[in-house]
Amino acid sequence: MALTKVITQDKIEVVGEFKHVQVRTKTAVMEDGVELSNGFSRHIVTAGKDYSAESAEVQAICAAVHTDAVVAAYAAHLDASASE
């Protein structure tokens, strides 16, 4: 009877025109390969943010979707919405 903690990024979503990368991290407690319980934690990587500390998979997605055009468009959106 061995208990183990398994942490995975079980859901990575690219959301909206500004390609927000939503990452769900699942922490599961396993007993001999059978999941006893789990919990989720979430964070979002927005265009223009440093993603060098993210997992390799998230980095690859950010590199693909956070193009210069997307970064510029989101920065312009933030500037515009700041006056709302």
Binding site: V15, G16, E17, F18, H20, Q22, R24, G39, F40, S41, R42, H43, I44, T46, G48, H77, L78, S81, A82, E84
Partner: protein, 204 residues
């Protein structure tokens, strides 16, 4: 030994409902399953005495009061997030003495709450915002949401407000004067040891 009941006229299994006995279909108790593509229909309550009702397909859910998307509870999730404070989109040298966030998503409604305390507000400056939210605010038209807030260690005039705008992932912090004038909060409004608790509900 498998038993097959063919789909001919009058085929199927009908329990005798003409008596007052409680006719029952007993399924295996040793882990067996009832498998099929049929659409069961009950006129009484359906009860699961133990275990969960599992809807394993994304986008499917529990239809209440109708079968359209607006009547279907197709998502539920609870978890944690890590709140952070930024000035002008950065938080250079900012240090948190403690912070924790929780969220629950029911359908498309996210309720997120958090607490954080600073030990050093760092050197960044610019408009203050709370970041780290678990979901992106929907890009639906005029999809603005406001937060409730309690804090220590901030100077302001005359009221602090916070809100999230469509297609964004941050809560913008403002001060609103009694005259109605609204300005952004910046680093100088925060002490090095400020702390804050907040809750916001928004549509993801």
């Amino acid at each position: 030994m498998p038993i097959t009941i063919k789909n001919s006229a009058g085929g199927g299994v009908t329990l005798d409902s003409t008596t007052s006995n409680n006719e029952t279909v007993n399924l295996p108790t040793g882990g067996g399953t009832l498998v099929g593509t049929a659409t069961p229909s009950f006129t009484g309550n359906a009860t699961i005495t133990s275990g969960n009702l599992v809807i394993a397909t994304a986008g499917k859910g529990l239809a209440v009061g109708g079968t359209g998307a607006a009547n279907t509870l197709d998502d539920y999730e609870e978890g944690t997030w890590t709140p952070s404070l930024e000035f002008g989109g950065n938080n250079v040298s900012m240090t948190f003495s403690s912070r924790q966030g929780y969220y629950t998503k029911i359908g498309n409604l996210v309720t997120a709450n958090c607490y954080f305390a600073l030990s050093d507000k760092g050197s960044s400056n610019g408009a203050a915002s709370i970041v780290g939210l678990p979901f992106t605010n929907s890009n639906a038209g005029l999809n603005y949401s406001a937060m409730s807030i309690v804090f220590n260690g901030m100077s302001f005039a005359d009221m602090v407000v916070g809100y999230i705008t469509p297609n964004e992932t941050q809560v913008r912090l403002r001060e609103v004067a009694n005259s109605g004038a609204q300005t952004v909060l910046v680093q100088s409004n925060f002490s090095n040891s400020m702390d804050m608790m907040m809750t916001i509900s928004y549509r993801a």
